[in-house]
Symmetry: C2
Subunit: 234 residues, 2 copies
DNA sequence: GCAAAAGTGTTTTCGCTACACCCATGC
DNA sequence: GCATGGGTGTAGCGAAAACACTTTTGC
């Protein structure tokens, strides 16, 4: 078997001792005034009955991102999401059974696109990022890293809009930022900054509540802006 | 064979159709007043005799980063480098022979740590990032992405110091930034900004040249600062 | 009419940018 | 003494932060 690989010049690719490769996906949404992440309960060992990030193996003919989108549809029924590669975790002993390298993505979905309503009996649930259960494998480390990346990119891109419904009030937008950054923001400064960028546009609709109605805005840019921050150095 | 995997509960890991996994590393250095990247000439098909980013397979018991450090020592003899995971490329047809997923890192080495001196006959050479040869596989895409990330992180971290020798003049530091960003910077503003951060400290040595001697500085922080940029949004 | 959330401006501070000349040395 | 790179300060502008009151609705 090894000699066949040698003849084909394939041994440089790792020969016969290949690690398994999976894709996992950290799915964020905003729900009940909180930043939530979707977790699934493991049905088999190791870490049986513990919560984990959804994931699965990559099929021979699909790209990594195709594999993640397939997983997303299976878990949430959602097609249209923001997706970004997060990191590849490959420590030799992260799975006790065997060598597994996992390419982790994170996804941002808005709650109005979720048609599925999980109940408590399901093995799939939204957890608050701020009150996580004990997690299988190295998934706690992965979630911490995902939150860090989300906060980080929120600061210099318009990626936060991917978590919001099509129409939203400025207060809802501010609350979204506050939930993710886990800090309070100044209302006037927030509104001035958002409006001065022209990133949102006013609709002619309002949201009625118990008090004064709030004007609804929509995201104005055709594409999410993922440009670089102004530089600090030098 | 498949049934054995089923019994062990391993089919969720991808069963028997595993892709090959390699690590590649984009090695940057500053040399001859230019930003250089280390490339190796391929000895076998496909893309025989074309230049490529160095890389190799991951051994069963080593982490991804360990594999990269091993490659780095093999190619450059350098142990002490800044290393960062760049991206994982996994399109189904990026290698014409078979499915190969590659985890790409980038490394920053300072020229004073390189003891190897390649000559033109060698199959390993430093190329200017601004005059690259035709590259094997999707390696041109990988290098472009690596340069983007390097520039990007240069702007809000102190990672640039990893490319410099222990002692350097402020002009050398500025030239390093200019080489990487490929733009001219204002001397007074550059020096004020660098000095105001306290990130460098004056030594009592000078570099003698043809003209007025230049004071030598050293990097003051114990660790590279890789913190976030001040936020643009919101 | 009152409770509650929506909406709105000004002032101060700080960092960024643009810009030109003297200094120390080798030859 | 002159050519060359080393080294320094200031003024103007724009973004960020701090901060409190009026408006509109439901009840």
């Amino acid at each position: 078997m090894s000699s066949t690989l040698d003849i084909l010049g394939l041994n440089e690719l790792g020969g016969i001792e290949r690690p398994a490769v999976t894709v996992d996906v950290v799915i964020f949404t905003l729900l009940d005034n909180d930043l939530k992440v979707l977790l699934v309960k493991r049905r088999s060992p190791p870490f049986q009955a513990m919560w984990a990030i959804p994931g699965g193996f990559v099929k021979p003919d699909e790209s990594l991102e195709d594999a993640v989108r397939r997983e997303l549809v299976e878990e949430t029924g959602v097609h249209d999401v923001y997706l970004e590669q997060l990191y590849t975790f490959g420590d030799a002993r992260r799975d006790p059974r065997m060598r597994v390298i996992t390419v982790v993505y994170f996804a941002l979905v808005s709650v109005d696109k979720l048609d599925v309503d999980f109940d408590e009996l399901d093995a799939v649930t939204w957890f608050s990022m701020y009150t996580l259960p004990t997690l299988a494998f190295d998934h706690e480390k992965i979630l911490k890293y995902a939150l860090q990346r989300l906060r980080y990119k929120l600061e210099y891109t318009t990626l936060g809009f991917a978590l919001l419904p099509e129409e939203f009030t400025l207060t809802e937008l501010q609350q979204a930022y506050e939930m993710i950054l886990n800090e309070k923001l100044d209302k006037r400064n927030f509104r001035r900054k958002i409006l001065s960028t022209g990133i949102v546009e006013l609709t002619d609709r309002v949201r009625m509540g118990d008090h004064r109605p709030a004007r609804l805005y929509r995201f104005a840019a055709a594409e999410l802006q993922l440009e670089a921050a102004r530089r600090k150095f030098p």
